[in-house]
Subunit: 314 residues, 2 copies
C-alpha cells in the first residue's frame, strides 16, 4: 500500500489516513498493519489515566514538550469518552494542536470511544502500533480512568501513570482504589492546592497495602499548568523503563500483551463468523424467541449456537 511507504517516510497526512483506516476497520487496514508490523517494537509506550478534571491533557502536553527537549519524537493518542454527536474529541484536538502544532516531532490523535468499531483496546493497540512503526520514540495514551474499558487501555502501556488531583468528592476514594493496581507511577497534579499533601499521603498509605513487587510505585507532585515537576516525572518514567529492561519484565509484559491481543482478535473473528452463520439461517432469531418465551435459558441457547458453529465447520 502506497500510504504505508509514505507514512514510513514521514508523511503526516499518510499517517493520519492509516490511523483513520484502523479506526474504521477499513479493508485497507489489515494489509497496512501487516506491512507496518515488522517496524514496530521500538517505542516507549506510556499510559496516562485518572479521573476527569485532574488535568491529564495539560500534563500529557508538558510531558510531550519535555520528551521533545530530550530529542525524542512523540505520538499522543487521546482516548475520549465523548459521544460522536457532540464532537468533543475534535474540539479537544484543536485546542491541543494550537500549542504543539508547530512541532513536526509531535503527532496527536483523539479517538472517541463511542466511535470505535471493534474493541476499544484492540483499536488503540493498533493505532499504537502504527505510531511505533513510523518511528515515534515515545507513544503516550491518555484515557479517562474508572471504567473497565479504560483499564484495558492502560494495560496496553509499558508504563502507566495514574493522575489524581485534590478536590474530588466522597466517592473518589473508591475510584482511587480501583486504579491503584494499574499504576507504575502515581502523579498528584495541581499540587499547589491545599489538600494536595493529604491526597499524596493517602495514596502512599493505600499503596502500602499493595502486594510487594520489584518496583516501588512513587507518588510524584506536579503543577502541570505551571510546568512544575515535569522533569522529575519524565526521569521517573525513564527509570521505570530501565527497571523493565533490566528485570526482563519489558519482554515478559510484551509477550503477555501480544497473547491478549491475539486472543481478542481471534475472539472477534469467531464471533463475526458466528453472527453471520446464525443470522443467515434464522437460527439465532429462533433461539432468541425461545429464551424470550422462557422455554430456554440463555446458557442453553448459547450452547446450541456454539454447536451450530461446529456443525457448519465440520
Amino acid at each position: 500500500v502506497e500510504a504505508v511507504d509514505r507514512a514510513l517516510a514521514g508523511d503526516r497526512r499518510a499517517l493520519a489516513r492509516l490511523i483513520t483506516w484502523v479506526e474504521n476497520r477499513s479493508p485497507e487496514a489489515r494489509e497496512a498493519l501487516r506491512l507496518l508490523y515488522p517496524h514496530t517494537g521500538r517505542a516507549r509506550v506510556v499510559g496516562v489515566t485518572g479521573p476527569p478534571g485532574t488535568g491529564k491533557s495539560t500534563l500529557v502536553n508538558q510531558l510531550a514538550k519535555e520528551f521533545r527537549r530530550r530529542g525524542q519524537s512523540v505520538g499522543i493518542i487521546a482516548v475520549d469518552p465523548s459521544s460522536p454527536f457532540t464532537r468533543g474529541a475534535l474540539l479537544g484536538d484543536r485546542v491541543r494542536m494550537q500549542e504543539l502544532s508547530q512541532d513536526q516531532g509531535v503527532f496527536i490523535r483523539s479517538m472517541a470511544t463511542r466511535g470505535a468499531l471493534g474493541g476499544l483496546a484492540e483499536t488503540t493497540a493498533e493505532v499504537m502500533a502504527v505510531l511505533d512503526a513510523v518511528g515515534k520514540d515515545v507513544v503516550m495514551v491518555e484515557t479517562v480512568g474508572a471504567g473497565q474499558g479504560e483499564c484495558e487501555v492502560a494495560r496496553l502501556a509499558q508504563t502507566t501513570l495514574v493522575v489524581e488531583a485534590p478536590g474530588g468528592g466522597d466517592e473518589i476514594q473508591v475510584l482511587k482504589a480501583g486504579i491503584l493496581e494499574i499504576a507504575d507511577i502515581y502523579v498528584v497534579n495541581k499540587a499547589d492546592k491545599e489538600e494536595a499533601e493529604a491526597l499524596a499521603a493517602e495514596l502512599s498509605r493505600l499503596l502500602s497495602f499493595a502486594p510487594a513487587s520489584g518496583w516501588q510505585v512513587p507518588v510524584l507532585r506536579t503543577i502541570a499548568i505551571q510546568e512544575m515537576g515535569i522533569v522529575p516525572l519524565v526521569d521517573a518514567i525513564e527509570g521505570h523503563g530501565a527497571h523493565l529492561r533490566v528485570t526482563g519484565k519489558l519482554q515478559a509484559d510484551e509477550r503477555e500483551r501480544v497473547r491478549q491481543q491475539i486472543l481478542a482478535l481471534a475472539r472477534q473473528a469467531i464471533l463475526a463468523r458466528l453472527l453471520e452463520a446464525a443470522q443467515a439461517d434464522g437460527r439465532l432469531e429462533a433461539l432468541v424467541q425461545a429464551v424470550a418465551r422462557r422455554e430456554l435459558d440463555p446458557h442453553t441457547a448459547a450452547q446450541r449456537l456454539v454447536s451450530l458453529l461446529k456443525a457448519l465447520e465440520a
Copy 2:
C-alpha cells in the same frame, strides 16, 4: 438444586448463596439459572448510573423506600468499581444494610467489578435474573458511570436513570455527553445547590441535540438526602414503564438484550475452548513468540488460531 426451591420460597440465605454461585461461576450456577429461568420476566428493571459523588446510593435507597410504600418488593445490585483488596463493596453494603435491613422486602447485593469472573455485564444480567425469579417486583442496578463496562450494565435495564449533581470539574461536560444517549430519565440530585439550575438547563440543552424518539427524556430535580423529589421520580419511572409496554418497546428491547446475552455467552464458551486447545499443544505460545519477534502480525496470528479451532472440530 435444593437452594433454588428454598430461594423461590423466600429464603434470603438461599438467595444469597445462589448469587454467590453466579458471581463465582460455580458449577452449581448453571443448573440453578436453568431452573430459575422460567420464573423470570416479571420484574421492572431500573438502572441508576452517573459520575462518582452524585449521591446515587442515597437516591437508590430512597427509591427503594418509595417502591416499598407502593407495595413492591425490591432487589438492589450495586456494581462497585472498588478493588478486592480494599473491600469497599462490603463496607458500602453494611452502611446500607443498617438503613434497610429491617425490611424483608428489600434485598441488597454489592458486586465488585474487579472480582467478577467472566464479563461484568453477563454476571450482572444473571444476578438480575435470580432476583427477578425469586419475585422481586423492582430490580435496581446501580453503577458508576463513565466506563464502557458500566454503560453495558446500564443497557441491561428497562429504564435507565442518569444522575448528575452540581459541582463537577471542567471535564464533567464530556462525561455527560457520553452517557446522554443511555438516559431514559435524567436526575439532577443535590438540587438545593446553587449551580443545580444551570446544570439542569445545560442538560436540557444537550438533550435537545439527541435524535428524536417516542420518549421525551425528562430532567428531574431531587435532594435525595432530604427525601425530596422522590415521588415524582418514581412516577416518571412508572411512566416510562407504561410507555415501554404501550409501544411494544418492552418486548423489542428484551429480545435485543436476550440476543446480546446469548452471543456474549457463546463467545465466552468458544473463547474458553479456544484457549484450552491452543494452550494444550503449545500453539498459542508459538504464535506469541512469532509475533513478539515481528515475524508475524497479530491479525495473521489470530487467523491461524481460528483455523486451529476449525481443525480441532472437523
